[in-house]
Amino acid sequence: MSQKKYWQNLGELNNTEGYRKLVKDEFQEDLPFTSAGKTILDAKAPRRDFLKYLGFSTAAATLAASCETPVIKSIPYLNQPENLTPGVAQYYATTFVAEGDVTPVVAKVRDGRPIKLEGNPGSFINSKGEGTSARVQASVLDLYDTGRLRFPVETAGDELKELPSFEAVDKKITGELGGSQVVLLTSTINSPTTLQVIGEFLAKYPGSRHVQYDAVSYSGLLLANEAAYGKRTIPTYHFDKAKVIVSLDADFLGTWLSPEEFSGQYAKGRKINQKNPEMSKHIQFESVLSLTGSNADDRFLHRPSETGAVVLNLLAKLGGNVSAPAINDEKLKKGIDLAAGLLNENKGASLVVCGSNDPNIQLLVNAINELTGANGVTINWANPMQVRKGIDSEMEQLVKDLNAGSVGTLIVYEANPAYNYYNAAEFIKGIQKVKLSVSLSDRADETSALCKYIIPSHHYLESWGDAEGRTGFFSLLQPTIAPLFKTRYFQTSLLKWSGSDLDYETYFKEYWLKQLGDQSTLDKALQDGVVEPASLSFASAPYNGAGLSDAASAVGAAPKGGKAELVLYQSVALGSGAAANNPWLQEMPDPVTRATWDNYAMISYAMAAELGIKLNDKYEVEFQKPVVAFTINGQEVKLPILAIPGMHPNVIGIAVGYGRGKGAGRAADGVGYNAYPLVNGKGNTRSYFVTDVSDYKKTGETYDIAYTQTHNQYEGRVEVVREYTLEDFKKNPDAIPEYRKELAEDFAKKTGDFRNEGTLYPKYDSPGAHWGMSIDLNACTGCGACTIACMAENNVPVVGKSEVKRSHEMHWLRIDRYFASFRDNTEGDNLNVVFMPMLCQHCDNAPCENVCPVSATNHSSEGLNQMAYNRCIGTRYCANNCPYKVRRFNWADYTGADSFPDNQHFSGVGKLDEAVLMMNDDLTRMVLNPDVTVRSRGVIEKCSFCVQRLQDKKLEAKKSQDPSVIRDVKTACQQACSTGAIVFGNVNDQESQVYKIRTQEQNHRAYYALEHLHVLPNINYLAKIRNTSRPVGVKDEFAEKKAVEHLESHG
């Protein structure tokens, strides 16, 4: 056990002075007037200030207390809707749709306001579970986005002039339409009714066309499948059926295609039956450390220009008739041998996926999957995906046509090439040559602002509609709220302009009535939210290997990389950047880098050393990241760097999706750098890497990146994470029970029961329920959906970049990311990454409870560590005494809940960011959960185990007089987790899953974080098991040295 060391940041690894100071001071800054090394007595006129403050607060309190009785109005409905009881939530099945992504969801609506989304468990797209991604969880906030346009406008320069009515708009536009070519530019559309509407519209204007354009292209995959299987679509993947998973640059747990679906499947193969421990083997080849790579059993690094070579070598090793270029890197070679060997052994139970956008490389990957028998087993052609359809050459052609002046009208919906096209400048030039340009997007974003008219469309939660995420798998949308603004379905606009009287709502209903037969079937379908076959079917597609040799030679002839190379990736939180104005997503720490509110260049430690960058405390503890000037494709780009282990030494990684313009909204404005112009558009497809980073040098400037990896430290306690290799676990499954026995011997010799014998604390009886949680570190992928679900459920405030920098982030549930590696030059390959969701452990011997001077935090008979906000006086002793660092203090009035309205408008230190003020807009506040108190300044808050849900479920159980009802209770994090890593329940109930996990099913893996402190947490973790032959963890040199000294002193 002591031979491992897990670390979250460099300070911790090297135990630097700054780090020691950081963990010593729980709260990281002094009061403002003592900051210059002075004490409070040296400060200017402290006595006068003191008296002033005293006088003010007395006067203020008197004023606030003696105000007249406020008269509060209670206004019932004039005509109460028949299906609504104020105060009782309603649930509507609908579907999250954005840029082609489809997730069937169930929306919780309280008093007419959707406030929370869960996955629809009736859908195969959700693997019949409720799990969702962080982006889906956060999309409910987009409905109340202040950046949305509130009425149709005509643009005139930078100004937006409101148009009086839709009729007036229609008249203007139909007057100008026609005569010349009309092009409809959208993101991927997979709604059958919308496609039909578009078809009718295009038929009205002959010569017009529909171009689908994806911000991040899957064109290569589509074209390769067309060549090999005759279908320009993407099959569905089944990671659960694969014993060996090989991923080449595909971040399938984070951003690739349908990550929450894949995560669920992936976790099925990763969960362990302790009696017969088996799990899938996941090998990742990549250049930058991705979320998927962090979860891999073995990870091998290559340059992005080498992807083709890796694929060719793999194919050759598997018996494909291709000549493979030599690979010089020994470790990479070994990796290819390992992958090839395993794939050979597991034919028919393996899956190779590749994130490249090069059709030739994807053709080779198809060939590999053919050889290993994946077609029809792990790759299913029965119901192909419809989530991405954009073909790069079509967009290329459009930009050419725009510039040639052959396009008369351009209508844009949900596509934003002026921001995210690699050649945005050319597109912008082109759009200005168009006679009539109309945007149907929801805001005046980069592209819309260039259009003559913007006619905003509804948000999906305000809409009727449908989506076909998989061929033959339909999901329906129904409105959960009346449109907030004067907006209109973009389909209705198209219908009007094609001369139809119908609006889209009628059109949609007529279409589905015809499809389903009658009204009652349609009602049932709307209630279910999905129209899907009863079971999944599997089919293979006939394979055509004709293009293989050409592809192989094309790939083999690909140019070699320069000195360094660049990889462009999507961040797990923001993806393509369309939802950049969502403060929840912006503030979600990146799973790998733990950074918020920015993008940056990820580089390796080796490159940092080469640049002469000292990764000292100034860098790590004080956030001052050096800015480096890179010469990418001959163009100089200045970016702050983050040095990350597990990066290829010659590769830098930059996230796209940042650097949005003003039109995106108040929160997105000015965040990060737009990396889309760096996308390489040469050839038929856009490629997301650049081989030519010819030069890089330190500039001497620094830039602050608000990252959370140095926050909430354990002061060197390392028994937080437990990780074993599969082999070790098989050999010694008793490691954890033995450890527990050892602990008991130290503290509770007689009975072995620490709870009764070894503690001074009172023993709390739990006569009824006793809540407990179990988190499986093997299933947790670190995606962060739980963090966002928790924010939405519990009204967790957004604090903004400036406050995150000061360690003031408020997330009740954070996901700690641990690195473990041998400290030698092989940092990359031997890196292990462990994700650990950390939230209030609800200790039965809670150290926070007995230091509270006012008993604001105390223990309930149900095992909850309760927090009474209105009793809290803000001493923060509890946070100081919490070994897990999960308590959060409201340093400022983040929510606008204070009684003094101008508490947010102070200047100087702690000035709140624009995003925080945006979250306090009356519109945005509509997302708040009315069952949870909004906390004000000066109080501590933390995870409550979603007590409002527990109380609600208990009430339901009492009303139905059935105790088994409370078995269904789910916390928000648990419900949002698509891998089922979190299990929650009543541990006093022997039928509950959490009881069974702790006592029978997983008792050899179940451990408590910092168990030796004997705080008796109510959350247990299941140790991480890694299916690898490498040793896991790093050697703890300090412990080794001590052991040697110890031996010597005896010798």
């Binding site: 009785t69 019932p76 409905y77 004039l78 104020p86 009782v88 009824g768 059935d962």
Partner: protein, 418 residues
């Protein structure tokens, strides 16, 4: 079409049928009692003296075909069939917004005779006939007596007496002392006395200051003037309308809910004047014109009582909220009413005796907690509590005889604050 609709319609129908059933239960008692039958079957749409949803029934035998009792039976038993051959009733339908009376096949001929007799006698007696309540009989609101002043005066008087006695006492003492030692300190300069006085003042002052501070934000007996003088006494008391008819939310969710205007109009479409009940008074003693108040309801509902139509210009009523818990308190009505089986009166007082409602209790945390300490849960009746095995054992072993809310965690912070 929303998929909830059908369920909701069923639920509404169910509720409506309960209300109907309640009405009919009241009346079935005397089958030959014309008044009871009239109230149960006819009064929803008919009034003896004036047109309502249906025409006024007084003097009907002189109109149309109704002198022929046989025709009346046929009409009541099956209006649609009768109307087919009868132009008079066709005209009636047209003049009443096209609403046709539903059939009452279950009324026997004797029942109908009884109703006609009742209508005739009532009509003969004239509106407001014999049973008119004497104005003197109306119950005037008791003047609110405030005893604070009385107690204050008493205290002052007692204090003066005490002072005088003290004075006398000290004088006597002084005289006695003077005999012994001359030239001692007078009592008001005696430091012990001064200290004692200050301490007493501090304690008394402190007590009242704290009491006052604790009471801030609590509004016991708060009785604001409402936009409509709505008397719970008339509705829930005299007319015995169940609380649940209007406050259905108590069984389902956290709020009891103030009924929407359309719920009021369920009854007030027919009841358009206040004549029979006692004279109502405002707290200041002024009289309330009940019919005028109903008129206010009509203007909110956008109902034209003459044309008997909605104008579509309704607006919601802005009631002044009386019971208001702070935002950090979670209170759920259904927990208390359905699970705890508490009566509304426990917290809201004798609502059936209140005209405009006032806040009965102070709604303080101490008040909540005290009740949770003493109230017993439905421990053996409700199967949910079977998970509390320890308490069940204790009951079996006669260690305890019942379980209070407190014992199952009812006074823990996060039962109400989250």
């Amino acid at each position: 079409m929303n998929y909830h609709l059908s369920i909701v319609i069923k639920r509404l129908l169910f509720r409506f049928s309960i209300v109907c059933a309640l009405f009919s239960l009241v009346s079935v008692a005397g089958a030959q009692d014309g008044k009871a039958i009239f109230n149960a079957k006819c009064a929803a749409c008919h009034n003896v003296f004036k047109n309502s949803t249906g025409p006024a029934l007084g003097g009907m035998e002189e109109r149309g075909p109704w002198s022929d009792r046989k025709k009346l039976y046929a009409w009541i038993h099956n209006p649609a069939a009768f109307m087919a051959n009868d132009p008079y009733t066709q005209g009636l339908k047209d003049s009443h917004n096209g609403i046709l009376m539903p059939g009452f096949a279950d009324l026997t001929e004797a029942d109908i005779d009884a109703v006609v007799d009742y209508v005739n006698t009532t009509f003969a007696a004239g509106p407001g006939g014999g049973a008119k309540a004497a104005p003197g009989g109306a119950i005037a609101p008791e003047p609110h007596t405030d005893n604070t002043l009385l107690y204050g005066i008493l205290t002052v008087v007692l204090a003066i007496i005490a002072l005088i006695l003290m004075q006398v006492n000290s004088n006597l003492k002084k005289v006695a002392e003077e005999r012994e030692t001359a030239g001692s300190v007078p009592f008001y300069r005696n430091k012990t006395n001064i200290t004692l006085g200050i301490i007493v003042l501090f304690l008394v002052g402190g007590y009242y200051t704290i009491q006052g501070a604790v009471g801030l934000g609590r509004y016991q007996n708060y009785e604001p003037e409402q936009p409509i003088f709505y008397s719970h006494k008339v509705h829930a008391g005299i007319n015995q309308i169940s609380c649940l008819y209007c406050h259905g939310g108590v069984q389902e969710g956290k709020s009891a809910n103030i009924p929407s205007v359309n719920v009021c109009m369920n009854c007030h479409m027919a009841i358009n004047e206040y004549t029979k009940g006692p004279q109502l008074y405002r707290p200041d003693g002024s009289e309330v014109n009940g019919t005028e108040e109903i008129g206010k309801l009509y203007s909110y509902a956008g109902w034209d009582p003459d044309k008997r139509q909605y104008t579509g210009e309704g607006k919601p009523i802005e009631w002044t909220r009386i019971h208001n818990l702070p935002d950090h308190v979670y209170f759920n009505h259904s927990q208390h009413v359905v699970v705890g089986q508490q009566q509304c009166q426990t917290c809201h007082g004798n609502i059936t005796e209140m005209d405009e409602v006032h806040q009965f209790t102070d709604l303080s945390m101490g008040w909540c907690v005290n009740c949770h300490r003493t109230t017993k849960v439905q421990f053996t009746e409700n199967k949910f509590y079977s998970i509390y095995e320890k308490f069940h054992d204790d009951i079996k072993n006669k260690k305890i005889d019942s379980v209070t809310v407190e014992m199952i965690g009812g006074i823990e912070c996060q039962k109400c604050h989250y």
